[in-house]
């Protein structure tokens, strides 16, 4: 017999015939993938028989948030035209996913928004002026993340997902009841960080919910150039977590699916990947020209499936949208917009010396030197201005 250099002691002469019952060691897939697979159709409530079960109070609350969110998008876009915002990535058309993401969380939970998700942050209670700080340009993160437990808006796509996993994992290790909900776009799912975050979350069974807003585009790149997957929710299977496909314009469906995912996370049943199928009605940002890559006809198809209108229809059908209610909701949104306008019209207080204050816990001697240089320049500038002012007065 040929020595196979394995040191194997099984006598080879005993092995005959083709049907040996060799025990194949531990290689059976450990989980049945069936419960992880998303349904083939996005989950819907509004406009379906499921709507009957939806709680009116919740629907009215969602409606208020949707209308306010729509107003917020319109106002922020207007602010870019007035030069009060450098740039604004609008979520018009995506309000259902945005506000539901905020509403399903409890106070101690954490939200991890991407750069587009200022509305979710605002719906969680963040002052919209602070939420827009980054885009206004007076500082990077316009708010204290600990105040409302909202991580900094993440510009580098998908990079915030592992943060959410780490935070949720840390809270769980400490025995705290905290769930993290992390938001990312369809384009962001192609990044390595998406993959690594979901894998860590599943291995650690961290209490995280990943919400992908599939709005059809990554700037100009349509989903078909982004992935060949059956759906983005199907990616969950490869991590061993359940994937859910939802109509992202259906606020009731979004609220229900996200609530369940949060509940599971909270109960120690691990992470969920939720894909909200939606559509970005505006251009990527006000600086973008969407006509370069999509047709008006396509946009119009989606207009017929508007999240605010969907909810309106449901509430109207139930006879809940009387004049007074409508006026109250409108009023609230207008007041909200007025406060935002006012806040954004006030010039922010800037201190250039802040540039050196927060780089390290304690300023290094190099930074002290550089801060002194800037201080001297600013003083000289001020002196020169004062002098020219005095000159003019004379």
């Amino acid at each position: 017999m040929v020595s196979t250099r394995t040191g194997r002691s099984t006598p080879v002469m005993e092995q005959r015939g083709t049907h040996q019952p060799t025990p194949p060691p531990a290689w059976k897939p450990r989980t049945d993938p069936a419960p992880l697979l998303p349904d083939p159709e996005p989950y819907r409530v509004l406009g379906t028989s499921r709507a009957a079960e939806a709680d009116s109070t919740l629907l009215l609350k969602l409606y208020g948030e949707l209308v306010r969110g729509r107003r917020y998008n319109a106002q922020a876009t207007a602010l870019t035209k007035q030069g009060r915002l450098a740039v604004y990535p609008s979520t018009t058309g995506q309000e259902a996913a945005e506000v539901a993401a905020a509403m399903v969380l409890q106070e101690q939970d954490w939200l991890f928004p991407s750069y587009r998700d200022t509305l979710a942050a605002v719906a969680r209670g963040l002052d919209p002026v602070q939420a827009l700080g980054l885009l206004r340009g007076d500082w990077h993160t316009g708010y204290d993340p600990y105040e409302h437990r909202i991580a900094p808006l993440s510009t580098p796509l998908a990079t915030q997902l592992p943060h959410a996993v780490g935070l949720a994992h840390a809270a769980r290790l400490k025995g705290d009841d905290v769930v993290a909900l992390a938001m990312v776009g369809d384009g962001g799912t192609s990044e390595g960080d998406f993959h690594e975050a979901l894998n860590f979350a599943a291995v650690w069974q961290a209490p995280v919910v990943f919400l992908v807003q599939n709005n059809g585009f990554a700037i100009s790149v349509p989903l078909a150039k982004q992935t060949a997957a059956p759906s983005l929710a199907h990616k969950a299977v490869g991590y061993g977590m359940p994937g859910r496909l939802v109509d992202g314009n259906d606020a009731a469906a979004m609220h229900e699916v996200l609530s369940e995912a949060v509940r599971n996370a909270r109960a120690g049943r691990g992470p969920t990947l939720v894909e909200a199928v939606t559509y970005r009605m505006d251009a990527h940002t006000n600086a973008d020209d969407a006509t370069r890559y999509r047709s008006d006809a396509e946009v119009e198809t989606w207009r017929a499936h508007d999240p605010v209108a969907l909810m309106e229809r449901e509430l109207t059908g139930r006879g809940l949208l009387d004049e007074q209610r409508i006026e109250a909701v409108r009023q609230d949104a207008e007041e909200f917009a007025a406060r935002l306008r006012q806040g954004m019209n006030a010039d922010p207080v800037l201190d250039p010396m802040d540039l050196f204050t927060h780089v390290y816990a304690e300023q290094t001697s190099q930074l002290r030197e550089q801060a002194a240089q800037l201080r001297a320049e600013l003083d000289a500038e001020a002196e020169a201005e004062a002098a020219s002012g005095a000159e003019q007065e004379r």
């Binding site: 450098a86 510009t155 100009s220 800037l350 540039l355 550089q370």
Partner: protein, 349 residues
């Protein structure tokens, strides 16, 4: 704008154009001349890139040559490596400076090393275009000057244009190079105008030659990319104070043109390195050190540096305090120990 070479301005057939146009033309000419050239990246196809540098190219050359990729920078660079292995010449666009970081492992461990690891058998002729630097009111992660990372990585060429002519010429030469080139495009010069000859634009060969943008006798400003126009302006302003400044535009950080730089510094005896990148560990340290090593006995003063502060790039409303401007350059020039010399043309302190 004083960014055009003085020679170009007088030529017949020259026209004004923006740097963005020159870059687009360079890509187009490269695609047209060499079927191995492929352009790829996020939004470079249908949209024409967020800065419109690839505008119209997908239409002209087809989506197989000018390709919108999935949103994954390591994947973009990694697949480009594979394409280059098969003999193509990929030209990769990183949408913004900071979004090149996810591709750093591919860059450092493969792109920079492949020729060397294979004893020359497997060169990687690929160009990585990186819009870099600030001054455009961009939010965080959109304004990094990341050249320090690239120059510390042997195996890469690091090239950056400051004029419209060079934008064309250096990009053509980079794409034609058989080595990987990091092609740093100064974002805020995209819309700068210069005269060039669109009838007969030419590549700048070889990569690695600095150019004296302005001759002067008092001191040398050594600079590149977005800081070149600032230095030219500073040199004009300096005249009023009696300094006649020479301005050297490096054009490529790797290879580094010691010859041109040192010849200038030996002539003037004084030098200031100017760049937007942070000072600590930035290119300025290397440049100052090597100039000092080579020209020590010609130096009347230490080589000084004017750079961005050693801080994360500031938010839009504060960036003007960070960027090296004319005043800071003149301040540095003033600190070049003129008094210890005497006899200098009006040398102020």
């Amino acid at each position: 704008m004083s960014t055009a070479t003085s020679t170009a301005a007088g030529r017949t057939g020259t026209k004004p154009a923006t740097m963005a146009q020159a870059l687009q033309r360079a890509l187009r000419d490269s695609l047209a001349e060499d079927p191995a050239v492929h352009v790829m990246g996020e939004d470079v196809g249908t949209l024409g890139g967020v800065f419109r540098i690839t505008d119209g190219l997908a239409k002209e050359f087809g989506e197989d040559r000018v390709t919108d990729t999935p949103l994954a920078e390591a994947g973009i660079l990694g697949t480009a490596v594979g394409m280059a292995m098969y003999g193509l010449r990929p030209v990769v666009e990183m949408q913004f400076d900071a979004f090149a970081y996810p591709a750093f492992e591919q860059l450092i461990s493969h792109v920079a090393k492949m020729r060397n690891r294979t004893k020359g058998a497997m060169p990687l002729p690929l160009t990585i275009r990186v819009p870099y630097g600030g001054g455009i009111g961009g939010v965080e992660h959109h304004c990094d000057s990341s050249e320090a990372y690239y120059i510390a990585t042997p195996g890469l060429h690091v090239v950056t244009p400051a004029t419209v002519e060079d934008a064309y010429g250096l990009l053509r030469a980079s794409i034609a190079s058989d080595d990987p080139v990091i092609f740093l495009e100064p974002k805020r010069l995209y819309w700068s105008k210069g005269s060039w000859n669109p009838e007969a634009p030419t590549a700048v060969e070889p990569i690695g030659k600095a150019v004296v943008r302005r001759t002067g006798r008092s001191a040398t400003l050594i600079t590149y990319g977005p800081s070149v126009p600032v230095c030219m302006e500073a040199a004009e302003a300096a005249q009023a104070e009696g300094w006649d400044l020479e301005v050297v535009d490096l054009r490529s950080l790797v290879p580094f043109d010691d010859e041109t730089v040192c010849a200038s510094v030996r002539r003037t005896g004084r030098a200031v390195v100017v760049h937007e990148s942070g000072g600590f560990g930035g290119p300025g340290g290397e440049i100052a050190a090597r100039v000092t090593e080579r020209c020590f006995h010609h130096l009347e003063a230490p080589v000084l540096r004017v750079a961005g502060f050693d801080i994360p790039y500031p938010p839009p409303m504060l960036e003007r305090h960070h960027l090296p401007g004319v005043d800071r350059i003149l301040d540095a020039v003033a600190r070049l120990q003129w008094e210890s010399e005497g006899g200098l043309e009006g040398g102020s302190v």
